[in-house]
């Protein structure tokens, strides 16, 4: 069992606050991804959990024990760095066995553990090479092997795939996910890549400016973003935002006027919204389709990108706002075409002036998938 609990964690460098009071509960055997734009504090937070950065204020506990002041080695964690951080002057075998050697584990046992890790990661033929004689993917495996050998309670990954090429990244992503299910260990993974976050996480923590914007399962963040930042950060291409005016508030939802004049009833809890309020409507490119819908948006296609399976149309509406639509790969849209996009009301989000989302009336059936293991 290895829960990681962060309570009001803060980090300041002199007068500059980097982490401004973060509360996160990470359950045993959970795969948690910290995601956010660069400079959001996600790596700093991970390094604080690792013990490589001091904690200015708050409480960090691993496995029920307060670890604020413990050295990295005594926290029961292992870390995989973005640059791999292998010891260049040691062979793969020595790299992987270094921690055990420092812990004065008998040589026979070191050999056993290192060989076992090498077998799992298919590193056997490379054991006597130095890191410089390895490819990027192999170095990554050694870095993971070095973590496995320590048999940690918590694995920490700091953007481990960002130095790999696209194909290898997908492959390693699958391997790390498989490793998670094989080892049944708690894993905390930092990335700026929301695709990695969506595909690997049981639970995603979205950070911005040293503050947690939202914590939830991947589909919860996708279908129920708490605010405009999360809505824009999760999903690719990014969500379209349109300024709309409230025309009516009813128990079944809020009616707004779309640019172009159509009315749309969005099934959200109206709360404090009243007729005449300015709200922001969020709709994802993949939820816009050519033709019919509950409401229509019309405009001119300025750029058309054909990816084969899908086509991205960058459309300028009559009021000058640019939106992106992900339409069918076989669409006949051409540049400068006048097109009509249908909006389905149940896929829309409404955000108040403060950026917070109005709660959806119905919870998406898949929003809690991936939070099974030891979840809430």
């Amino acid at each position: 069992m290895a829960e990681v609990v962060l309570r009001n964690i803060k980090k300041s460098f002199g007068p500059v606050d980097i982490i401004k009071g973060v509360d996160i509960d990470i359950n045993d055997k959970e795969f948690v991804v910290f995601v956010g734009p660069s400079g959001c504090g996600k790596s700093t937070l991970l390094r604080m959990i690792a013990g490589l950065e001091s904690i200015t204020d708050g409480e960090l506990s691993i496995d029920g024990k307060r670890v604020n002041d413990l050295s990295p080695a005594d926290r029961g964690i292992a870390m995989v760095f973005q640059t791999y951080a292998l010891y260049p002057h040691m062979t793969v075998r020595d790299n992987m066995g270094f921690s055990l050697k420092l812990a004065k584990v008998p040589q026979a046992e070191i050999d056993k553990k290192v060989n076992e890790a090498a077998r799992i990661l298919k590193l056997d033929p490379l054991m006597d090479r130095k890191p410089k004689a390895l490819s990027g993917g192999q170095r990554q495996r050694v870095a993971i092997g070095r973590a496995i050998v320590r048999n940690p309670k918590v694995f920490l990954f700091d953007e481990p795939l960002s130095n790999l090429d696209a194909a290898l990244r997908v492959q390693m992503r699958i391997e790390i996910a498989r490793m998670h299910s094989d080892f049944n260990a708690t894993m905390i993974y930092v990335t700026h890549d929301q695709v990695e976050a969506m595909t690997m996480a049981d639970k995603i923590v979205v950070l911005q400016g040293g503050v947690v914007e939202q914590i939830g399962s991947p589909l919860e963040l996708y279908h129920h973003p708490a605010n405009r930042f999360v809505a824009g950060f999760i999903g690719s291409p990014t969500m379209n935002f349109l300024d709309v005016t409230v025309k009516g508030v009813a128990p079944e939802g809020v009616t707004v006027e779309l640019p172009g004049g159509d009315s749309l009833l969005v099934p959200v809890v109206g709360g404090a919204a009243k007729v005449g309020d300015q709200l922001t409507l969020g709709v994802r490119p993949e939820h816009l389709q050519e033709g019919a819908g509950n409401g229509r948006l019309t405009g001119t296609a300025l750029v058309v990108e054909r990816l084969g399976g899908a086509t991205y149309a960058y459309v300028k509406l009559a009021n000058g706002v640019m939106i992106t639509a992900e339409v069918d790969g076989n669409s006949h849209i051409k540049v400068n075409d006048q097109i009509q996009l249908g909006v389905r009301s149940e896929t829309c989000h409404l955000f108040g002036a403060d950026g917070l989302a109005l709660a959806q009336s119905a919870r998406h059936p898949l929003a809690d998938v991936g939070r099974g293991k030891g979840g809430h």
């Binding site: 013990g51 490589l52 420092l102 320590r150």
Partner: protein, 276 residues
């Protein structure tokens, strides 16, 4: 390191210029070597004689006149001794400044360098008096201490630069693996910085070997290194060009051999970090 295919050959005059500069730099040493095999009369004749019967007479005289072996031993002791001492003091200092910097680290580094900016003669009298009081005049120990101190700023600076080139994440990985600061230093940082430490050490040895100001002023016989030995041949009794040359050649010979042998290491150390 492969050159990009668009790399253009340098103009032809560049190698010629390089040769001219090299010859200019080498000429005094060549002339000194030549003079050391002449008689004293030939050595001062004008125009200088290029063709002469070489003689080893000067070398014999020099060795007869003074205890060459003791000077050599003193030089070796002070230059290698002070280098080891300086490295022992500078490695922890550079380690701390490179990996655990505080907001005062840059000023500390600059202050250390600033001590090299004052002409040594400015502190000659206080130093002389201190040495006299402590009984360090004309001793190897005294020179060892002063050479360590004068080379320390440069040694710290160079090591600091080399250590800065070692990725901090490697040491952090070591920390996660359970290495204490000493193990980080000895098992991770030092093995990675060997080329840098070697070239720093070599530079410190050469600087100490050639240092003349303090050795001439603080030593005379017992603690005197080779620089004092050379100087003893340019005396008020007369000019001994040939003997001076022979003595100089004997003084630079050991360091020349060391430099030659470690040339590769030195060059790779000096460019360490410049090319990836």
């Amino acid at each position: 390191m492969s050159m990009p295919s668009t790399f253009q050959k340098p103009p032809r005059w560049i190698p010629i210029l390089a040769w001219v500069i090299a010859v200019l730099i080498f000429f005094p040493i060549f002339w000194m070597a030549l003079t050391s095999f002449k008689t004293e009369t030939e050595a001062i004749s004008t125009p200088p004689s290029l063709f002469f019967t070489p003689t080893l007479e000067n070398y014999n005289d020099v060795i007869d006149r003074s205890n060459y072996a003791r000077f050599v031993w003193n030089s070796i002791a002070v230059s290698f001794g002070s280098t080891l001492l300086a490295l022992a003091l500078a490695i922890p200092a550079a380690y701390a400044m490179a990996f655990f910097p505080t907001k005062r680290t840059p000023s500390t580094l600059l202050w250390m360098l600033s001590t090299k900016m004052m002409p040594p003669v400015g502190v000659l009298i206080p130093m002389y008096l201190i040495f006299k009081t402590l009984g360090l005049l004309d001793t190897v120990t005294g020179l060892l201490i002063i050479y360590t101190l004068i080379n320390l700023p440069i040694v710290v600076w160079m090591l600091y630069t080399y250590f800065k080139d070692v990725p901090g994440e490697i040491l952090e990985a070591g920390r996660v693996d359970g290495a204490n600061p000493m193990q980080e230093l000895f098992l991770l940082l030092l093995p990675l910085a060997v080329p840098g430490i070697a070239s720093t050490g070599l530079l410190s040895v050469i600087l100490s070997w050639n240092e003349a100001f303090w050795s001439l002023n603080l030593t005379s016989s017992q603690g005197a290194p080779l620089t004092a030995f050379i100087a003893s041949f340019s005396s008020p009794q007369g000019l001994f060009w040939a003997k001076l040359s022979a003595a100089s050649l004997m003084a630079i010979a050991p360091i020349l051999v060391v430099g030659w042998m470690s040339q590769r290491q030195l060059v790779s150390g000096l460019t360490f970090g410049a090319v990836k």
